[in-house]
C-alpha cells in the first residue's frame, strides 16, 4: 500500500503524560512524526494535537485505534491533504544591511506574501505562513543572501468536515 501524508487531529484532555503516550505509539511502529502541534481548541479545557506523518491508510487506521484507546483522548481523526485546510508558519532572521543593500530582497518579500515582523539595526525578521512548499521556495530564494536563523512551525489545520466534539463529549457524559 502507498504511503501518503496524513494529518491526524486529536482532541484530548489536558494531561502532562499524554504526549508521551501518543508519541510512543508512533515510535513503536517506526513512524516518523513530521510535525506536531499542541494548542487549545474550540472547547474549553480540551487540547487539540495535530500530527503530520507519512504512512499507509491501513497503518493510519491502526494508529488512530491505538490513540483513541488512551484514556484522555476524546477523539482522533485522520485526513488527507485534500480533506483539510492547513498551513505552517516560518520565521527568517536576516542581516539588516541586506534589506537596504540588496533591493531584490524587498521584491522577494513582497512577491511571496511574507511580512516583516521586526527590524533592528543588526537584523530583521520575516514571517511567512503557507504551505510547506511555499515556505521552502522562500527559503531557497533567501538562502544566497545568508539566513541567520530559520524556524518552521508544525502544521496547523482545520478540516472541511464538521467535528462535533462538543456533542460527543456530552454524549459520553450521559
Amino acid at each position: 500500500m502507498k504511503k501518503e501524508i496524513y494529518t491526524i487531529s486529536i482532541y484530548t484532555e489536558n494531561n502532562l503524560g499524554l504526549l508521551n503516550r501518543i508519541s510512543s505509539i508512533f515510535l513503536k511502529r517506526h513512524i516518523n512524526i513530521e510535525s506536531l502541534t499542541a494548542s487549545s481548541s474550540e472547547i474549553e479545557n480540551v487540547t487539540r494535537l495535530i500530527i503530520v506523518a507519512s504512512l499507509t491508510e491501513e497503518s493510519v487506521k491502526k494508529v488512530i485505534g491505538q490513540i483513541e484507546k488512551q484514556i484522555e483522548v476524546i477523539k482522533a481523526y485522520y485526513h488527507t491533504n485534500e480533506e483539510s485546510i492547513y498551513i505552517q508558519s516560518a520565521l527568517f532572521k536576516i542581516k539588516s544591511n541586506l534589506l537596504f543593500d540588496e533591493r531584490q530582497i524587498q521584491n522577494i518579500i513582497k512577491n511571496s506574501n511574507a511580512q516583516i515582523v521586526t527590524v533592528s539595526p543588526e537584523f530583521f525578521v520575516i514571517e511567512k505562513s503557507g504551505r510547506k512548499e511555499e515556505i521552502e521556495a522562500l527559503y531557497d530564494e533567501l538562502l544566497p543572501f545568508g539566513i541567520m536563523q530559520f524556524v518552521r512551525s508544525g502544521r496547523i489545520s482545520v478540516t472541511k468536515e464538521e467535528m462535533k466534539i462538543s456533542e460527543l463529549l456530552k454524549k459520553q457524559l450521559n
Binding site: 484530548t12 508521551n20 510512543s24 513503536k28 485505534g65 483513541e68 484514556i71 459520553q172
Partner: protein
C-alpha cells in the same frame, strides 16, 4: 435553624474528615473493597506502610520477597477472583521492579493497580536518591498512569485508577505518589469513579452487526469458534456454551481462554496456536466462517497471517475496537462486551447440525491422539514425561484445580494436558511469556480463591527466577502446591535449538541445586520423584496436604512439545514431529 440543616446535609453526604495523604491511600483502598494487597516497603512509601500498620485488621498486606513477586501475585489474584489486584512498592528500584508485571498485565488484560512512592515533589528532576521517572518508564506498559504531588488529589485519582483498571478491557494502572503528598493533609471524601468523559470503555453494541454475524453463522456449513480470555473477563461462559450447543459449532480456545469451556465438553476441540491441538489448527484453514470471540489473533495463534483462514469469512466479537482488523481482516465486527453481544446473538441464531464437520475434527484428533497424546501419557521409555505428570495431577484433582503454569515446555504441557471443569482455572503468562511468573502468581491465586486447589507448574529455569517467593509462602503459610518439572535444561529453548539450530545447546544446560533442600530450608514440605512407580503416590500426597507442598519431578531431559507450528509457518502445516 441554619446550623441544623447544614449538619443534616453533612451526614447525608458522608462527612469529609481531615487526614494525611498516606491514610487517604488506605481509606481509598478500603472504599474500593480491597482487603488484600501485595508489596514491599522502602523509604518513599513508608508513610503509607505506617498506615498499613494501623489498619492491619482491615487491610492485609502480603510481604513478598521482591516487587516482581508482588505484582505477579496481584495478577494471579485478579485473574482468579475477577477483582482488581493491588501491588505497592517504593520509588526507584522498587518501582522499576514492578515493570515486568505491568507489561505482563497490559498484554494479558489483567486489572491491577500499582502504587509507588516517589521522592518529595521539591526533589523531582534533581536525580534525588531513589528517584526514577516511573511514570515515563511505565507509560507504554500501563493502561493509564499518573503522578500525585498533592494530598488532596489522592481519593479522586485512586478512584479513577480502579475504575480504569477494571472497566472495559482491563489493564494495569500505576499511581506514583510523592512523599510530601503522603504527609500532606486533606479533607477526605471518597466517591467511586463511574465515568470519565474522554473514556468510552464499552463500545455500544450495534444490532445490525449482530444480525450480520448471525446471518453468516446461520448459513455456515463449517463454522468454527475460537474463544479467548474475553469470554472469561465478561463472564460469558454460559452464553458461549449456549451458542456452541445451539448452532452445533466446534470450538477451540486460545491459551488464555482455556477453562472458559470445560475440557470435557464434547464440542471443545482443544487449544489453537503454536503448540495447540492438531485438529483446530488444521481446520482453521478449512472452516467457512471463523468466529473469534474475545481474542486478539496473536501471532502465536495465527502463524503466517498471509495464509491464515483466507478461505473463511471472519466474524470478530471484541470489546476493544483497536483489535478489529489489527491482524486479521474481519468481515463482520461486533463490538461490546462479549456477554452482551453473545446474548443478543443467541436469540437470533438458528439451531443447526454439522455432524460431518465435527467428524473432521474427530478424525484429526484421532491422529494426534495416536501419534502424540497417547505415547506422552503412557510412555514406554524409562524417564517420566511432562505430560504424564500433568495427567497424574488431573487424576488427583479431578480437573478441579487452578493450574498456574510458568513459561516454556511446562506451560505447554500443562495447557495441553490439564483438565478444567470450571472457568478461571488457568493462570499463566500468555502474551509476555514471563518466566518466573507462576510461583508468585500462584500465591495470589490461592489468596484470591482460597477454597480451590492451586497447583503451580514450573520448569527448573523459571523456578529460579522467582524462587525467593518461597519465603512469602513460608511467612503467609498460603497452601499452594508447587510442581517443578526438572529437565535440567531451559527446555523450550533447547527444543528450538534441537529443531532449528542443529542441536547447538548454547547456554541452555542447567546445573541445578538440590531443590528439595532449598525448599525445606523454607520450612515447606518437599518431595522428589524420578521413577514412574512413585509418581501417583507423590502427587496424591501433595494434593492431600493441607499445607503448601513442593514436588520436584525429574523428567526426560530432551522431551519435546508437539504438535508445533514453527514461527511464521502456516497453521495448517502444523508438525506432528
Amino acid at each position: 435553624m441554619e446550623t441544623l440543616t447544614k449538619a443534616k446535609k453533612k451526614t447525608k453526604k458522608e462527612k469529609a474528615i481531615k487526614i494525611n495523604g498516606a491514610e487517604a491511600v488506605v481509606k481509598s483502598l478500603l472504599a474500593e473493597g480491597i482487603d488484600l494487597i501485595y508489596g514491599y516497603p522502602g523509604g518513599a512509601i513508608m508513610p503509607v506502610y505506617d498506615e498499613f500498620y494501623k489498619y492491619q485488621d482491615k487491610l492485609h498486606h502480603v510481604l513478598t520477597r521482591h516487587e516482581q513477586g508482588a505484582i505477579h501475585a496481584a495478577q494471579g489474584y485478579a485473574r482468579v477472583s475477577g477483582k482488581v489486584g493491588v501491588a505497592i512498592a517504593t520509588s526507584g528500584p522498587g518501582a522499576t521492579n514492578l515493570i515486568t508485571g505491568m507489561a505482563d498485565a497490559q498484554i494479558d488484560s489483567t486489572p491491577v493497580v500499582c502504587i509507588t512512592g516517589q521522592v518529595g515533589s521539591n526533589l523531582l528532576g534533581t536525580d534525588a536518591f531513589q528517584e526514577t521517572d516511573i511514570v515515563s518508564i511505565s507509560t507504554p506498559v500501563t493502561k493509564w498512569n499518573y503522578q500525585i504531588t498533592k494530598a488532596s488529589e489522592i481519593p479522586e485519582i485512586l478512584a479513577k485508577a480502579f475504575y480504569i483498571a477494571k472497566s472495559g478491557r482491563p489493564g494495569p494502572v500505576l499511581i506514583d505518589i510523592t512523599k510530601d503528598a503522603q504527609f500532606g493533609e486533606l479533607d477526605f471524601e471518597y466517591k467511586k469513579c463511574e465515568k470519565i468523559r474522554s473514556y468510552n470503555p464499552v463500545p455500544k453494541m450495534d444490532k445490525a452487526q449482530v444480525k450480520a454475524a448471525a446471518e453468516l453463522i446461520n448459513k455456515a456449513k463449517k463454522p468454527f469458534i475460537i474463544f479467548g480470555q474475553g469470554v472469561i473477563l465478561a463472564n460469558a461462559e454460559e452464553e458461549l456454551r449456549e451458542l456452541i450447543e445451539k448452532a452445533d459449532i466446534p470450538a477451540a480456545s486460545t491459551l488464555l481462554g482455556l477453562s472458559a469451556l470445560p475440557t470435557e465438553h464434547e464440542f471443545n476441540m482443544g487449544m489453537v496456536g503454536m503448540h495447540g491441538h492438531y485438529a483446530p489448527n488444521v481446520l482453521t484453514n478449512e472452516c467457512d466462517v471463523l468466529i473469534a470471540i474475545g481474542m486478539r489473533f496473536d501471532d502465536r495463534v495465527t502463524g503466517n497471517l498471509e495464509t491464515y483462514a483466507k478461505q473463511a469469512k471472519v466474524v470478530h466479537f471484541d470489546i476493544d475496537p483497536s483489535e478489529i482488523d489489527k491482524n486479521v481482516k474481519t468481515d463482520v465486527a461486533v463490538l461490546g462486551t462479549v456477554k452482551e453481544t453473545l446474548v443478543a446473538l443467541n436469540t437470533i441464531i438458528n439451531q443447526n447440525i454439522n455432524q460431518k464437520w465435527h467428524q473432521e475434527f474427530k478424525d484429526l484428533h484421532q491422529i494426534e491422539y495416536k501419534e502424540i497424546i497417547h505415547p506422552e501419557i503412557n510412555p514406554t521409555k524409562e524417564k517420566l514425561t511432562m505430560g504424564e505428570v500433568i495427567n497424574a495431577i488431573n487424576n488427583e484433582t479431578n480437573g478441579e484445580a487452578i493450574i498456574v503454569s510458568d513459561v516454556g515446555q511446562n506451560q505447554m504441557f500443562a495447557s495441553r494436558y490439564a483438565n478444567f471443569k470450571q472457568s478461571k482455572s488457568v493462570v499463566t503468562s500468555g502474551g509476555l511469556g514471563t518466566m518466573g511468573f507462576s510461583l508468585p502468581a500462584s500465591i495470589g491465586a490461592k489468596l484470591g480463591a482460597p477454597s480451590r486447589e492451586v497447583v503451580a507448574i514450573i520448569g527448573d529455569g523459571g523456578f529460579q527466577m522467582t524462587i525467593q517467593e518461597l519465603g512469602t509462602i513460608m511467612q503467609t503459610k498460603v497452601p499452594v502446591k508447587i510442581v517443578v518439572l526438572n529437565n535440567e535444561f531451559l527446555g523450550m529453548v533447547r527444543q528450538w535449538q534441537e529443531m532449528f539450530f542443529d542441536r547447538r545447546y548454547a547456554s541452555t544446560v542447567m546445573t541445578n541445586p538440590e531443590f528439595t533442600a532449598i525448599v525445606e530450608g523454607y520450612g515447606i514440605k518437599a518431595k522428589k520423584v524420578s521413577k514412574r512407580e512413585n509418581l501417583s503416590a507423590a502427587v496424591s500426597e501433595m494434593i492431600a496436604s493441607k499445607d503448601s507442598f513442593f514436588l520436584e519431578v525429574i523428567v526426560e531431559k530432551e522431551g519435546n512439545v508437539f504438535p508445533m507450528i514453527p514461527t511464521g509457518a502456516t497453521v495448517s502445516d502444523i508438525r506432528l514431529k
